[in-house]
Structures are given as C-alpha cells and as structure tokens.
Symmetry: D2
Subunit: 327 residues, 4 copies
C-alpha cells in the first residue's frame, strides 16, 4: 500500500493511454458483445458457486436505501432515495380505500421511490464510463443520450450476476479498522491478502474487497465525503491485475473503488477509465461488508455463492442492488 501522493506512483495521461491499449478486451467476445468480463462466468462457474453453500447461511451485502444514505451532492447531483407512500394504513383504517361495487373497503399500503441508480449499493453498467469518446467494446459514447444507453445498458446483465464470490478483507489483513483516505492498495496487497486468507482468485470470480471505509462512516454516524470525496481504494496500477485475473466483477465498500485523491492530476478516477470501458469489468460500489467479513473471519472461509441481480432497467447505466452472499 502507498499514499496517493507517493511520487513513485504518480503518473500522467500518457499512462492512461498506454494502459487503455494494454488492458483492452475489445473484440475478445466479438464485435457485438455487451457483457464484458461477465463472459468469464459460465455453467462451470455457476455450478461450482453452488457447491460453496455449506452451512446454509445467507447474508445481504447491501446498504438499506433511504434518506440516511451517503449522498451529499458532492458529485453529479445524486441524491439519497426519496421514498413516498401512495396509500397508507392510516388511510385504510379510516375507510378511504373504497372499491367501486364492493361492499367493504380494501385496506392496503402502496409506495414509490425516486432514486439515482448509483446512489447506494449498486452495479455500474458498462455504459457508465467512457474513455476518450468510447465505451466498452468500442461502442461510441454518443450511444448514451438522454433516452438512455443503446448499448452496454444494465438490463443486458439481467441473468449474469450469479457466481463465485470471494472477499479480500484488506483492512483486517492490514491490521486496521479501516484504511485511511488516500491509501492506495497495490496488486501485491490483493495477492498477499488472498494468500493470507487462504483463498484463490479464479477466472469468473466476483471479487469483493473491504477497506472499512463504510463502517468507519457508519460508526461515526457521519458520511462526510464518502460519496465523491476522499477514500481508500485500489491504485491505478492494479488495472493490469484486474485484467489478467480474468475476474467477472470487482466490488468495494467505498463509493468509487479506487483511491481518492487519485494518483494523477490529469483526470478524475483514472482507474475507471480502464476498468470499465477497456477491460469491460462491471463494478460494484457502496457494498456493506461488515456482516460478511465478520462471518469470514469466524469460519475462515472467504469464498461463497454470490448473487446480485440488477434491476433490469432498460437502457440504464447502473442499478441499485441487494447483493447476497451465501455460505
């Protein structure tokens, strides 16, 4: 691990350009592909995932969706979920829910939500981030207009989010409650943590790593800059690792997976530029990992069946999710 501002790791835009080539999977699964590295998950991976259910324990790896969420308007105008009731029990008991032609009024409650698709625990679709005008597999960024994404939308993944999950508990491995903001995790750290935990990273894995950032905020009852501000996270230089490991997806307990401040002054979130549009990895963010991590440290098993179906919002570039880990 290193600090984001360690000169040894600083870089400029030319490295982004270079890594865009080095780590590109464009065309690997044909010119029409919209799945990216989810192609690494096949029947064998799914069958194997099911064998990981050994004690029959299911855990949610998602944060509740409500007005206590992390959004503070720091980035792009995202807001916390707005939950409104369309019908209530208080109405019901006062006979307000009459049904024409029926003798007795019904009694029910109904509700609605308005939320950014990336405001809480979520998948980023492959159409969420572009690199110099292009998105995953070389599709033009302009295919994502005001009516949504014509390519690489989240609904394409509707039956893909099922496989082997592994947890890399970086914070615990590093011996801290949570990594400090600005701490960059290296590829070596990911490998060493996996080794220490006795878990192997395999093709098609859904890799979750824990920095402790969310738990720090929850403990302090203050999100602060969690959504869009400084954070611990993976170094830009892990791009190659992400590419070579042939993982299906990468997920973190932070807002944006990668370290902030970034290791470059040239762009914001440089790792995103490579991982999503070039490698084609679906990214999971704002995962709540405490329960899962506590369970893993207890039974020493860091692999599990992972199932996190996105809402198939047509043309969407993200989706709120409630990921499940089952052991």
């Amino acid at each position: 691990m290193h600090r984001f501002d360690d000169p040894k790791y600083r870089f400029d835009f030319s490295l982004i350009e270079k890594m865009s080539d080095t780590c590109s999977n464009w065309g690997k699964w044909g010119p029409d592909d919209e799945f990216g590295t989810l192609n690494y998950v096949g029947p064998e991976q799914r069958k194997h995932a099911a064998t990981l259910v050994k004690k029959g324990k299911a855990m949610s790896v998602g944060l509740n969706f409500d007005d206590q969420g992390p959004q503070r308007g720091l980035f792009g105008g995202r807001w916390n979920p707005i939950h409104t009731m369309l019908a209530t029990g208080t109405d019901a008991v006062q006979g307000k829910q009459k049904v024409p032609g029926k003798k007795y009024a019904n009694q029910y409650a109904d509700d609605a939500v308005s939320m950014p698709l990336q405001c809480g625990t979520q998948w980023d679709a492959l159409g969420h981030v572009f690199n110099r005008g292009k998105m995953w597999n070389g599709y033009d960024a302009t295919l994502v207009g005001s009516r949504g994404a014509e390519k690489n939308s989240i609904d394409k993944m509707k039956d893909k989010m099922f496989g082997r999950g592994i947890l890399l508990d970086i914070a615990r491995w590093a011996g801290v409650e949570s990594l400090e903001d600005g701490t960059a995790i290296d590829s070596e750290d990911l490998d060493a943590c996996a080794k220490a935990q006795g878990v192997e990273i395999r093709q098609g894995d859904f890799v979750l790593y824990r920095t402790g950032h969310m738990e720090r905020c929850l403990k302090n009852k203050e999100w602060g800059g969690y959504a869009g501000g400084n954070a611990p996270g993976v170094s830009f230089h892990t791009c190659k690792w992400m590419h070579e490991k042939k993982i299906a997806a990468i997920c973190a307990d932070t807002w944006g997976c990668e370290v902030i401040p970034n290791e470059t002054d040239d762009v914001f979130q440089p790792w995103h530029w490579i991982v999503i549009p070039q490698i084609g990895i679906t990214m999971g963010e704002i995962f709540y990992m405490k329960d899962l991590a506590d369970d893993c440290v207890e039974d020493k098993v860091y692999e599990f069946l992972f199932c996190a179906p996105p809402l198939p919002i047509s043309r969407g570039v993200g989706s709120p999710i409630n990921p499940m880990a089952v052991k």
Copy 2:
C-alpha cells in the same frame, strides 16, 4: 378450475372472517416476528436449494423496468418506471464534464428512476395489505403511515429471499397458452399440476405458478387490463392450501396472483386479505416466466435454486426485483 362466477364457489364476507382465523399464523414465531412464512426457510432449505444447480444455467424471472410496463392507471395511481439521465455520453464527448483541478474532462453517464415499488416484477412486503385494521402478526395497520411502515417493511427481508423454487406451469398443464381471465385455479389443480410435473411441494418453497397471462399480453403487444383488471389466478379457496403447505412465498405471472373478478362481491382481492396479513406469506407478482417455463418443459425439472433479493428500502411495503432461477 372454475369460473369466478360459478355459484358453487361464491362466498360472502363471513368466509373471509372465518378463514382469517383458520389460516392465521399470528404469534407462531413470537410476538415480534416480521418474517412470516419466510421463517420456513432455514439453513437446510438453503443448502438443499444449492444442490439444485445441476447444469449451471441462470435465468431471470423478471420483466424489464421501463415505460413499456403494464401500468395503465387502473389501480391506485401506479405508473410505469420513469428513467431519466443525469449525465450522458453526448454531453461527455462535448467536454461538458469537466472536473475542477483536472486537466482532462471526465466522461461518464449517470441516471435515475422514479417508480412505484409495485409497478413491475415485485415483492409485496407483509405491510402491503391489511385485514380489518391489522397486518401480519397482529400489528396495527396505522403503523404504516406517510413515512412508511414501522413494522413488516420490505427491508426486513433483505437476506431472506434465497431457497428452493418450484414452478407450477398451470397453463401448460391445462393444455392452453394462457388461462382465460376469470379462471380460478383450485388447490386440487395445484396438486395435480405438481404431480404431473413430478415435483413435490415442500416446506419453505418459493412457489411460482404460471397462468400465461403476461405472455398473452406480450404476444398481443397490449397490456390492456393486466395491471388491475381481470385475470386468471388462484381461487380464494386455496387459502387453506397456502397455509397448510408451509410455503415460503407464492409468485405469479399476473398482477395480483388471485382470480379477478373475484369470487365475492363483498371485497376486492379477498385472497390477499388472508394470505398476506393472516398467513404471513410474501407475495411475488408480475413475474416473467416464459424462459423458465420453456427450460422446465425441456429438461422436465421444475425445481431450482431461487434467489430474489428485494431492494432493502427502509420502511417500504414492496420492492421491484429481478428474481433468478438457477438450475
């Protein structure tokens, strides 16, 4: 099966009162329970569910969420999902996404949704329906006010929706593409269909039954009264079956599971009055079952791992979902 207006099956409010007692599970899992029949799913059921993954095939049982959904304003003011873009690729390529202090503009897309929680494929929470002022486990209906459900909300189920699923393909068993609106399915039909399919209904099962209603609408490219109007579905008299089978959840490819018009003039959706508040069954609606049904008829296997995590919307009385069946 019978027509909703078959005099032999007509009933009045007194039967609702009687069944409310006969089929009540209130207190069965203690006075504080908010899980209802999801209590029937334990470690054994989850471990068994995992063994059903035999060929490694994952299927979504959910409809896409978009403005082509079934809502037509027939009931309670529900609308189809409204998907709006907060940032676009067309903006990105024109350099509109500058980040203060960075040399190059970022390029990304972002989006939001506004939707009733019950507008598409969904879970009804136990706080969704009341029976004479009470909801599941005897909680007062007034606990569901304009700020949401203080009890029996959907977020309580966040790690519960994983287990053995079975499909009862009633339409195919009956030899039709889809059951006609107003056709009521009897308990005997459910049993006979299961037997014909060679699948046993067990405690803790997530039971999906298919009427063909949704596929009829999709084929005709016209939802018509799908959301709130007439439909095929289970008879009110199946309440007892639902209770005795100790199933975890019941799901259909219709808007409201039960037959409409109803078999009584006294209330709308009488089966709801018993199944949700008295038995404590979580109900799944508007499931898209074509792919799953096609697969089942092909491999003759009607059981599968079922995973359908709700969005844990705090105090919500429902949740949009993307249910997965894995075989």
Copy 3:
C-alpha cells in the same frame, strides 16, 4: 385557413433556411440578450396593461395539473403530473406527527410533485428549441446539456411575464366549436379575427389564440392525440406575421401552437424552428381558454391584463404556469 396538405402551402427545408434569416432577431438586443421579444414589454406596456382592469374580474387560463392531463407518451416521454403526499390528515388525526420536545403532536399535510415542465399549461423557454445547432440569439445548442440550460433558461424570465394580453378567438370567429385537426390558420385570419373582435394587436402584446382543440377534448372526455398528435394551429407561413407584429409571446389552447400534420415533410414543427430560436418568442401552450373566451364574447372586450409568472427553475427550458387574465 387551409388544410395542411393544400399544395399551395407546402414547402421544403429551403424555406426554413430562408425564413431563419428573414425573421431573425439575433443581436437586436445585444449579443448577451436572453429575453428575446419580451424586450418589447417595457414600463409603458405594463402601465397600459394595468388600465385594462375595468371590472375587476380575474380568470385563470390554466389547466389543473393532475393525472388526468393530456400526456399519453406520444412525444419525448412526457408524463402527467404525479402528485404524492408526504404527510396527511389521516396520519395527523392518529397522532403520528409528534414533534420532539412538544406536548402535543402537530397536525399537517405536505406533498410533492414530479412533472415534466412542459406537461400541461406552460411556457417554452427560449432554450427549448434549436435550429441547426443554435438557439435564440445565436447561442450554441450544446449549452443545453444534462445539467440544464446555461443560456436562455426559463428563470431569466422571472419578472417578465406581465403585460397586455389579447385573445384571438379564431374558432368562434370561424363559426365553429373547434377547428379540425390539420387546419392551418393564416396571417390573414389572425388579422381578420382581430378586426372582427375590435381589438388591435400592438407591440409587446401577449397574444392568445383559441382553436377550441382543448375544449373538444374535454367535452369528449378523451385527450387522444392532443399531446403530440394532430391539431389545428397556425400555418408555418405566419412566421413573418409573428416577427413583424413585435409581439411579446404567443399562446394557444393546443399542445404545440402550430398545425399538425405540418405543411412540410422535411421536419416536425417547422414553425417552432423559426419562432423560438430565430425570432426569440416565448411560446405558451396547453392554455385553457374557455372561461376567458366566454367572458370576452359576453363583454366584447378582447384585451386584458395578463400575468403568467413562470416558476424560476434554474437552467430550466420550460415551466408549468397558471396564467391569469384580469379585466
């Protein structure tokens, strides 16, 4: 008046190009202007408008905003207003609105709305329509991105919508309840109607014209294609009239002011291309004119004080309004 398909009036894109030049007011009020023809309304016009209040009668010229509005998804994904309650009297009477530290609970209701800014009675801002990549006064269309309009937004007009209004009751003048869809109103008709009504059109006027289209829909209790489909309205060839009369704004009881189908096959709503971006006229649509028209026919006075303040939504390209006519 003529039919939209009368060969005598058909035209192609070259006329749009020509009229864009002929009718341009770009630069007329300086390179930084964002008011367009609202510049024609000054202190004299406002003082004169006030003198038109003679009998002290105020009338709304707006339609209610609710789920019974005209939107049917025909154009651009607009929906009818969604009104949701955040707090209710039914909650209140059950003591749900406790305030920390206070002995008695408060009792109140609160609500919210989600609506397209152009879904009902509305102003189009000058940033609403572009002509070959440019908007009013030559500003680039790309100044209107996903974060709204950097130029020509509706909030700029916040103190401008007050002046002399006149009604041209074209339908009544033509002796019909409502003009048929596809009927194009000519400049000569506007002049003749004004003359017949004894009202002079002056610089800085807010000109309202009535086709009877909305009233036809309300009478038939069926909006049909009102929002986006066929309609009566002004001919493309009135552009010159709009320009020369130096009016402040033009308003109609239809969805889009101009005749649909259009008199050209080359573009949709060609009149919009000229009137908004080139002349700089703010356009009012979906006005409810029955009460005003009934009053005018009764007292034979077709001029009035007109006040229709937009909601100053920052960077908005339209605004719902409740226009008032006071006589």
Copy 4:
C-alpha cells in the same frame, strides 16, 4: 418585539384553544367555503390593485428553484427541487432526435422537476394545517389522505391570487439588516411599521413582511437551519391582528412566518394552528424580498399590484410560486 422566551409572552395549550374560538371565521362565507380570507378580495380590490401600477416596474418576489435551495431535511422529509433533462442540445447536435417520417431530425430540449410543493417560495393551501382534527371551515382533517385533499386544496385558489400587496419592512424599520432568530414581532410592531412607511393596511390585502432572514442566509452562503430551524417571525399573539385586519394573505421571507423557537412548549408553530385552519388565511413562505424592499425604500411606496397564481395542482396542499409585485 420580544424574545420568544420572554415570560410575559409564554403561554400554554389553553390559549390555543381559546384563540381557536376567538379568531374563527368558520361558516362566515357559508358551510361550503374553501376560499377563506381570499373572500375579502373582490372586484373593487382588484380594480384598486391595478391603479397601483404607476411606474411600470415588475419584480419577482420568488427564489429560484434548484438544488441550492434551503431544504436540509430538518422537517418532514422535504428536499430541494430535482431538475432533470429529458432531452438536450448535446443530443440534438448529434442527430439523436430523429422524427419518424421526417427528413431532418428535430432539435430540442425538454426537462422535468421533482419537488415538494412547499420546498421554496410557496403558498400553503388551507388544507395544509389542521387544528385538533379539523381544517379550515370545519372540514375534517381525514379529508386529506394519500390521494390528496378533497377539500381546501390549492387548485381552488387558481384565480384568486391577485390584489393589492403591501410590504412591511420590519427589519429596516427596526434598523437592522435582519432580525435575530427567536425575535417575535408583535401586532404593535406591524402597525407601527406600516405607519412609519405611510402605508395603510386594508381589507383584502396581501401582506408581505420582511425580517431579513433569507437575505442573511444568502449573504452568508449558508442556509443552516432556515428551513425548519430557528427564525425571527410574528408572535403567536398577532393571531388577533391577522383576524381583525381582514387581510387576504400573509407572506414572509422566512420558512414558516412565525417566530421559532415558539413561545410555548406545548406545540410546534402554534400560530399556524390558528391562522390557517381557524382564520382561513392562505400563507406565503420563503419569499425573496430584497429587490422589492430596495425599490420600496427608494420610492417610499410600499403598496403594489400583487399577482401570485399557484400551480393548480389538483388536491394539492401547497404550491411553488413566483409572486410578482408591480408598481
């Protein structure tokens, strides 16, 4: 003026009960009335209002609606307006807005807003506040359920908000930039300020009073507790003044008109309990008064034509507005 905690002015619930009777206008305009004190505005008042337009200057008394508004989640879950684009110029210039059957693509922008009706400059409808289960004119509070207000909704006022406005610039009269939070304005202050300004308060007036609270927040670029927290405002004891003066409406540059903390421990906003449900006064809040106040101090004229039409949202209990003062 006095501090909210001055023992001389403290009171308990019994005074609320007493004032509810003393200041009640229930039945005054018949049992079916839903206008309240707006009944005081008739043709004479409107004609007189028009005579106040002397220099032809129009001013907005409203705050812009955007994400920089005052809401901080302090009360009832209100949020700042969320403005989203449905179509953009950046899309347009890239030819994304093709129209079927047309040779050239259209070019336009479109947008939407989601907002609480009381999040910015607004009218409270008479159905917004209840007093012991009743609202204006004795209607039951339960008439306001999840589907909105069956009585006393804002759309009833659609043609009522036009008349004589007067400004009481209390802050300037008191010689301060803004009154301190917790400062209660007495009836004597209102009268003395009017006298000092040389303006008479008459039946049917729209009375605006300025505390400087909003301008303090705007100057400090920090809303803090503006929306729901402490504020200067009228004392509870002005209820009688509000009743006797027969004013049409009362409006302030604060979130809730009355002083906070309140002068009682028994309820929150006791003045609201009397003014809205008992007297039947429509209340205006979060008015932006700087421009108007600057103009008044300059020309020494504190009366003007006032026009503030609400959006006629069916069954709404409030409305965002852009009030206009014309002198």
